[in-house]
């Protein structure tokens, strides 16, 4: 990554971030910078507003045939979904009439016949099974990508949200939004060899800490960490350096302890 040499360069990267053209790793660096810098946050919100407006330039007439086709297709799906919900509710209350059972049996017989026919063609069945497995794998991969992307979006949204609470700590900021807590470090030194940073949380009204996630900054000293806790129940957070794999209780003096007031 090209490490920004100075603040002005970081501010220029804020514009790139607002436009959405930074690669993931640099985006994390700038997100941490913005989260820790009021002027950068203002600049981001200003430029982001301009960047958002650009979408409007794509608002152009769609030819009527395309527009009608899209609407017909969409509304058919929506009405089917809406009536499906109603039908599902009805099914709970009413038994099937006898003629539906007859139709259902006929349909089932047709399906069985089709399955038997297909089963006779071993090669076809093998190909079909392989294709289905492939589809399942691709669907699973796609779901995973979408989950990661959604998590990234939520994290970055929380980090930059105007309504988030921010607590300055050594080398970064603790950001709390709704029931979520994040550490956003931009200048965290690397831990000693064989060690990692570990987060700790203390419930409200208690001084006993519970172990949380371990992490290390990247080469630029950047680390953005989401704590897997309910922020509404946490009274304080801390970070200490621990052996790889983490500890059950802090073994070194914490880098910081921050009450979340």
């Amino acid at each position: 990554m090209n490490e920004p040499a100075n603040r002005e360069e970081m501010m220029e990267s804020v514009a790139l971030y607002a436009l959405g053209v930074l690669p993931r790793e640099e985006a994390a660096l700038i997100a941490a910078f913005i989260a820790n810098d009021l002027e950068a946050r203002r600049e981001y919100l200003d430029l982001r507003a301009a960047a958002d407006a650009i979408a409007h330039s794509a608002d152009e007439p769609v030819d009527s045939a395309t527009s009608s086709r899209m609407k017909e297709r969409l509304m058919a799906r929506v009405r089917a979904a809406a009536s499906g919900q109603t039908a599902a509710r009805s099914r709970v209350q009413a038994a099937y009439p006898a003629w539906i059972w007859g139709t259902g049996l006929a349909t089932a017989a047709a399906v069985v016949f089709s399955v038997v026919t297909v089963a006779q063609d071993v090669n076809l069945r093998g190909n079909l099974a392989a294709a289905q497995r492939r589809i399942q794998v691709l669907a699973a991969q796609n779901s995973q990508i979408e989950r990661v992307a959604a998590q990234d979006r939520r994290t970055l949204t929380d980090l930059l949200a105007p309504d988030a609470k921010r607590y300055e700590v050594a080398a970064g900021t603790v950001v709390v939004r709704r029931d979520r807590i994040y550490f956003a470090f931009s200048k965290l030194p690397p831990p000693p060899k064989g060690h990692v940073y570990q987060a700790w949380t203390a419930p409200k009204g208690s001084t006993t800490v519970a172990p949380s996630v371990t992490f290390s900054p990247n080469a630029d000293g950047v680390a953005v960490v989401a704590l897997p806790v309910d922020a509404t129940r946490v009274g304080a957070v801390a970070v200490s350096v621990e052996p790889e794999g983490g500890s059950k209780a802090p073994t070194t003096t914490p880098t910081f302890v921050k009450p979340l007031t």
């Binding site: 053209v21 690669p23 507003a49 301009a50 960047a51 330039s57 899209m70 929506v78 949200a161």
Partner: protein, 177 residues
């Protein structure tokens, strides 16, 4: 108030007519973003279907603010997902656009119109406009922008920053927070 906000309240209550009105009001924008980013009417059509079906099935995803800004971001994010999944662009590590709740006034976008934004873009120096449009609709990184336009990376950064600031000034209070 952004009319989309009121319609979304009714969509959340499973009002099909409100959903239809929402589609009528905003499908051009969603389709347009898809077409600009994906360059294929069929893909843009699929994207429009996906975006509006998501609106119908998960209206709670909209948490207030400007509906048109939100739906624009949803459309752009979805287009970026498509670009990634199709590996059309090798720079697939580009981050998703960030939905920034509460960043804009409710009706900021409803006061904007396509022609005004196009005029603001046209008022930019060509070299700034080209980078901003390619960056926004092309789904590429700043390094790729530099490579494609044969421009030093530092110049790309400066031009994008200057261009966005100028856009902000040209659009004036219409994009004010």
């Amino acid at each position: 108030m952004d009319p989309g906000v009121r319609l979304m309240e009714r969509v959340a209550a499973r009002d099909v007519r409100a959903f239809e009105a929402l589609y009528d009001g905003y499908h051009r924008l969603v389709f347009g973003i898809g077409l600009r980013m994906l360059g294929d009417p069929a893909l843009a059509e699929d994207l429009t279907q996906t975006v509006f079906m998501k609106i119908w099935t998960a209206p709670e995803a909209f948490r207030g603010g400007s509906f048109v800004a939100w739906v624009s971001r949803v459309a752009r994010n979805r287009a970026l997902d498509v670009l990634r999944s199709k590996a059309v662009h090798p720079e697939s590590e580009i981050p998703a656009d960030l939905p920034l709740e509460g960043a804009l006034d409710d009706d900021v976008f409803s006061r904007l119109d396509a022609q005004r934004v196009r005029d603001a873009l046209s008022a930019l120096p060509p070299e700034q406009r080209a980078l901003i449009e390619l960056g926004f609709f092309g789904g590429v990184t700043h390094q790729e922008l530099a490579r494609r336009t044969d421009t030093p990376l530092g110049t790309v950064k400066t031009r994008i920053r200057s261009g966005l600031r100028r856009m902000r000034e040209t659009l004036g209070e219409r994009v004010s927070r």
